[in-house]
């Protein structure tokens, strides 16, 4: 019976191997990487990290990414909350069609939309701002947030709403001070998924920015092509992109499993 613990263990080992390789490479010099195979860094160096933390084009990439990802998470969850409430509590004209239409937006390949998005956001005049990327990522994050939150809200009995009205709560006060705290696990899970999909998306983020709001991922591709192939530097930059995600998932670790089970997602 104890043997079955081997399965997750082997799986996690498999997951960690490429990550180990990336981290190990970030401590090697580019010469060592290209010279041949070495399991551990022979010439341990922190140069790559020094470059990233002292060169503004590098560290601003991270700051830009974090700004638009946070902005997107806040917008997505904030507008998805009332909408999910409407879907879970009320029947209204066209509700089912609307819900399915929202989901279809996750199916449109981002590659299809890259050029029209560029034209649209240039026309509106917010090209190369954090807001542009945050709004564009709403396309696939809002439907997901509505979907997740609706599942969680469905698990909350309607008696809660009715009791609050009997007690004299107005709707906004009930919603903010009673209902949202009740489903905070759901808000956590929805925020986590919004953060995740906005953080990892590159195509739209790259298309909608030039200089001012350039995401870290775009800085990396530019370095890869212009400065030869500085593998050590790229590995260090890649390693640093894992950290924000790791922090976020650490905060929601208990909600992820429990949360999904609670909602009927």
């Amino acid at each position: 019976m104890k043997l079955r613990f081997i399965v997750p263990l082997v799986y996690i080992l498999f997951l960690m191997l490429p990550i180990y390789w990336l981290v190990a490479m970030s401590f090697k010099t580019t010469n060592e990487i290209l010279a041949g195979f070495s399991l551990f860094p022979q010439t341990f160096t922190l140069d790559a990290y020094k470059t990233i933390f002292t060169d503004p084009t590098w560290y601003w990439g991270y700051i830009n990414s974090i700004i638009y990802v946070s902005l997107n998470t806040v917008i997505s969850v904030a507008v998805a909350l009332p909408a999910a409430y409407a879907f879970s509590r009320y029947r209204f004209l066209g509700d089912k069609q609307l819900f399915f239409w929202l989901l279809t937006n996750r199916m449109a390949p981002a590659a299809v939309f890259a050029l029209p998005f560029f034209q649209l956001y240039s026309a509106v005049g917010i090209f190369d701002t954090h807001l542009a990327v945050a709004l564009a990522h709403c396309l696939f994050n809002i439907p997901l947030a509505v979907w997740i939150l609706e599942g969680f809200m469905g698990g909350v009995p309607k008696e809660l709403d009715e009791t609050a009205y009997v007690d004299g709560y107005s709707f906004p006060r009930f919603f903010v001070s009673i209902f949202i705290p009740t489903i905070k696990a759901g808000v956590g899970v929805a925020a986590f998924f919004c953060f995740m999909f906005s953080w990892v998306e590159l195509l739209l983020a790259k298309t909608l920015t030039a200089v001012e709001a350039k995401p870290i991922a775009a800085t990396m591709t530019k370095t890869a092509s212009s400065a030869g192939y500085e593998l050590g530097l790229l590995a260090a930059a890649g390693t640093l992109t894992i950290i924000p995600g790791a922090i976020v998932i650490y905060f929601v670790r208990n909600y992820i499993a429990k949360g999904f089970a609670m909602g009927r997602v």
Binding site: F5, P8, Y11, I12, F14, L15, P18, I19, W21, L22, G36, F37, V79, P82, A83, Y85, A86, R89, Y90, R91, F92, L93, D95, T104, N105, M107, A108, P109, A110, A111, V112, F113, L115, P116, L120, L135, A136, C138, I142, P143, M196, V200, L202, L203, A217, A224, A235, G238, T241, I242, A246, V248, I249, Y250, R253, A257, G259, F260, A261, V265
Partner: protein, 287 residues
């Protein structure tokens, strides 16, 4: 029960406006391109349905579509059973659960171009850990830049590495929601492990599995960045999936008309298959 209330539209309005702004306007631009021909200088000529006809008959499109279905089929066939198996063998509670979940979710949080780049280096024959191990320790000739089969194996392995955890997390969430009483009842009845899985665990996981499969289908069908960075669609065209081909036509050759027509066909196929999945998997609920 839900109450009828048309004012609920006001709650949905912000979502509707934001998503419509992002979805409808670009979609209309694509539709607009798909029926016109341009030679630059912002001059457009009406073409009708020529591009659609051309794309639907093109061998290149059929080949890319075939590769796309092969890719999506393979990763679903591997990731879904594997994810369920891992979720089943995880402990239900205890201090190791959060550790496992955090470690498992890690690959999903890495930007997609970094995923592609790290697997590219990981698989290089002489300096990558995987490539070195397969070539020098196992003695199997493996080079994804030369051999189409090796490129496919690498792409599939990368996607399994990247996304199996999504299936694990969702199935696990479904599993922990099963009350202990169910298992005790099964024990009293002397049910085998298989019948516990088939009649208790699988039905309880059905909802979360529907989401997992739908998400995996949509996202793998639209996959672009990871395989593009990993293999660039090569060697030759062997790993040119649908969206890689699309970007080649749209931005590489700047053939906006055909690219737009292809986008719409592509979108229609995704929509149809997703709808099919959704209807098949939720069919029992309606009865």
């Amino acid at each position: 029960m839900k109450t009828e209330n048309q004012k609920a539209w006001f709650f949905v309005l912000p979502v509707l406006i934001l998503v419509a702004f992002n979805a409808l306007i670009p979609m209309m631009t694509v539709v607009n391109y798909s029926v016109q021909e341009t030679f630059g200088n912002n001059q457009f000529f009406w073409e009708g349905l020529t591009w659609f006809e051309q794309i639907l008959r093109s061998e290149r499109f059929h080949a890319a579509l075939g590769r796309q279905f092969l890719f999506t089929g393979l990763i679903l066939a591997i990731e879904v059973p594997l994810g369920i198996a891992i979720a089943l063998s995880m402990p239900r509670s205890g201090p190791w659960v959060p550790v496992c979940l955090v470690l498992m979710a890690l690959p999903m949080l890495i930007p997609w171009n970094v995923v592609g780049a790290m697997w590219n280096i990981f698989a290089l024959p002489d300096i990558g850990l995987l490539g070195y191990f397969v070539n020098h320790t196992l003695g199997i000739d493996y080079d994804m830049t030369q051999n189409p089969l090796a490129a496919w194996v690498t792409i599939i392995t990368m996607d399994v590495w990247h996304w199996t955890s999504l299936v694990v997390l969702l199935s696990y969430a479904g599993l922990v929601s099963i009350p202990d009483a169910y298992y005790q009842a099964a024990k009293i009845d002397g049910a085998s492990n298989w019948s516990v899985f088939r009649y208790i665990q699988l039905p309880k996981m059905k909802n979360v599995l529907t989401i997992a499969i739908l998400l995996r289908f949509m996202d793998s069908f639209n996959i672009y960045t990871e395989p593009f960075v990993l293999t660039g669609g090569g060697p030759g065209n062997s790993t040119t999936l649908l969206s890689i081909d699309l970007v080649k036509i749209a931005l590489g050759q700047f053939d906006l008309g055909p690219a737009a027509a292809m986008s719409l066909i592509y979108f229609a196929i995704t929509l149809f298959v997703s709808w099919l999945f959704y209807t098949l998997m939720t069919k029992d609920d309606l009865n």
